[in-house]
């Protein structure tokens, strides 16, 4: 479903060239639950933006459903984001002036769907995340966990094959985090491809496949490395990280 071939993305920050993603190759099949793990600055957000068609790579090829999107226009990218991808962000990114229901309806409005159908589908999506009782509340009347569930409803309302969740539990307490991860798991069980991006090993353990990113490169992939080797490497990296923090 997702094929990244030799992808690179470079930023120039204050005269320094930063290789956010450095010749990265990754294939994700249909119906996988993948966690991309990395510390901040490892390039995981850049990777997520490229996969989510919010940004384009400088080099390499990106195939989504076998389509090379490197040559896509802004217009085609917007259509892809609208129909093929559901986004869940760390900051929830709901529109504060709209109710939960109106927020969920928004992607369907941009599809040009009529009121009756779009309302029906949005209520369905809100039921799936267990928030139909609060659909007329505005984001500031909802808890963080509830807001993130509204965001998930908005992500699934267009029935996309791919769900991209960027640090979805980053702003939540442990109980809400657990609920959100369970919800993502349910979506995976229901047939979606779920891509979870996180810095947290515990959060990542929810996924079936884990990919560790360091300095824009994949250093570990649980699909190809055995579990023991993966855990050993994880521990080594954790130790390195702790030592770095002490200094």
């Amino acid at each position: 479903m997702i094929e990244l071939k030799d992808i690179s993305k470079t930023y120039v920050l204050g005269g320094d060239t930063v290789h956010a993603v450095d010749h990265l190759t990754l294939t994700i099949e249909e119906h996988e639950f993948v966690a991309i793990i990395g510390a901040s600055g490892s390039g995981k957000s850049t990777l997520m933006n490229i996969i989510g068609c919010l940004d384009t790579a400088d080099e390499g090829q990106y195939l989504l459903h076998g389509q090379d999107i490197s040559s896509y226009t802004q217009r085609q990218m917007a259509t892809l984001r609208n129909r093929e991808i559901g986004f869940v962000f760390q900051q929830f990114n709901l529109l504060q002036k709209l109710t939960a229901l109106e927020n969920v309806e928004l992607p369907l409005i941009y599809q040009g769907m009529g009121l009756a159908q779009r309302r029906k589908r949005s209520i369905e999506a809100l039921k799936r995340v267990g928030l139909e009782a609060r659909m007329h509340h505005r984001p500031n009347q909802l808890s963080g966990g509830q807001q993130q569930r509204v965001a998930i409803a908005r992500a699934i309302v267009t029935r996309p094959a791919l769900i991209l969740a960027d640090e979805p539990t980053g702003n939540l307490d442990s109980r809400s985090s657990k609920e959100i991860l369970e919800l993502l798991h349910e979506l995976y069980e229901a047939g979606n491809t779920v891509l979870l991006i996180t810095h947290d090993v515990y959060t990542a353990s929810e996924a079936k496949r884990r990919v560790r990113l360091v300095d824009g490169r994949i250093v570990l992939d649980s699909k190809f490395d055995d579990e023991a080797a993966f855990l050993a490497e994880e521990e080594r990296l954790e130790r390195l990280h702790r030592e770095a923090m002490k200094i």
Partner: protein, 397 residues
């Protein structure tokens, strides 16, 4: 995205910031108000003067002899011109002025020696008694028809038919009183005295007629009648005074209301254009206010734009959303300005004693202008919003 959705979004954005939207609108409100007021007042003034001028007769030619030489135009000459070549009645006038006196009271009067025809040609109305008759002229009677001001000055009331007064060294008998027109202008009927032209000719020692008004059979016959008069005056003035062929001054002038009306109309439409133009500067200032606020709004809502783009809004969707917002502000401002203008015109109508109303063309102009302003000054901020990259916009705090 459907247009109705875009309009809905624009309205909710405008309503969520009422004070700011209203202040932005104020620029357009004041602009449209001043354009509609100024243009409508000029139009009202034009209409009222035009009506007055038309009331004086569109089928009237006014002849004044301007040569200083004596011209010997006689009553018989004019009688011969009547009812031929498109001309109707001709009313000659011998004019002068004097102080009228009665019982030690005085009133300054403008005196016109006239024939019976003046009543028809100049549209004179008599409220009591009668106007100058043919027999008055034939017998050179000292009779007079006086204006209301004269009557009041001399006798304290207007019921004066049969009374006598002195003027030009003779005593006159009042046979009629003119209808009061109530205006205070120099040419007001109220300070006029009409006497038989034969009497005037002798008392003012003026044997030649130097001014007369001619009616034509219809408004369309104006040009034909004018030609007939020019032929007559050309022969008469050249023959009697020997004026050189090459002089520019023909020695007479012929006015008609049509000429005066069209000259007046062109002055007033220039005036209207000028005032409207000055007022539209305030509309442009209002438009810049809209652009300013829209730019602030785009910056404030960068994150919202990022979210919308991330979930699939197209360039055009964002562009239209912000453009409609700008246009809605300007059109609403335009409508409010127009309604205020219509209301104020009602009030001013009463105060200025003038028929003032908002014409369809002025309303259409004002609304069209505010629509144009909204698009013109909305397109830049809207395009700026639509061009934002989703990742940059999402990262914006």
């Amino acid at each position: 995205m459907k247009l109705t959705q875009a309009v809905k979004m624009a309205f909710s954005a405008i309503l969520s910031n009422k004070m700011r939207s209203f202040l932005t609108m104020l620029g357009i409100i004041i602009g449209v108000l001043s354009v509609t007021l100024l243009v409508s007042i000029v139009q009202g003034a034009t209409d009222s003067v035009t009506t007055q001028l038309e009331g004086l007769g569109g089928n009237k030619l006014m002849v004044t002899i301007t040569t200083p030489d004596t011209t010997y135009i006689t009553l018989e000459d004019l009688e011969n011109l009547q009812n031929k070549n498109g001309l109707g009645l001709i009313a000659p006038t011998i004019g002068g002025s004097d102080i009228a006196k009665a019982d030690g009271k005085t009133s300054s009067a403008s005196i016109s020696g006239v024939t019976e025809s003046s009543r028809t040609v100049d549209g004179i109305t008599v409220t009591s008694g009668r106007f100058i008759q043919q027999s008055d002229n034939e017998n050179r009677l000292n009779v007079a028809v006086v204006g209301a001001t004269i009557a009041r000055d001399l006798f304290g009331h207007t019921d004066v038919v049969g009374s006598g007064f002195t003027m030009l060294g003779r005593s006159f008998e009042i046979v009629g009183v003119l209808k009061e027109d109530g205006t205070a202008s120099m040419s007001s009927q109220d300070s006029s005295i009409y006497i038989p032209i034969s009497t005037a000719s002798r008392l003012m020692n003026q044997t030649s007629i130097r001014s007369f008004n001619a009616s034509t059979t219809s408004v369309a016959a104006i040009d034909q009648g004018k030609q007939a008069l020019e032929n007559f005056l050309g022969s008469k003035i050249k023959a009697s005074s020997g004026a050189a062929e090459d002089t520019q001054d023909k020695g007479y002038s012929i006015f008609n209301m049509g000429d005066i009306l069209s000259a007046f109309d062109s002055v007033m439409s220039t005036m209207s254009l000028l005032l409207g133009g000055i007022a539209s500067i305030s509309l442009i200032v209002g438009g810049i206010g809209i652009m300013n606020i829209m730019l602030v709004s785009v910056t404030e809502r960068t994150r919202e734009i990022g979210i919308r783009k991330a979930i699939g809004a197209q360039h055009a969707d964002i562009l239209i959303q912000f453009l409609i917002e700008a246009v809605t502000i300007s059109i609403t401002g335009g409508l409010i300005g127009m309604l205020l203008g219509a209301g104020l015109l009602q009030v001013l109508s009463g105060i200025m004693d003038m028929e003032l109303h908002l014409s369809v063309s002025v309303s259409a102009l004002a609304l069209g202008f505010s629509l144009g302003i909204g698009i013109l000054f909305g397109i830049y901020p809207a395009n700026k919003a639509a061009k934002l990259k989703p990742i940059d916009a999402l990262r914006y705090e």
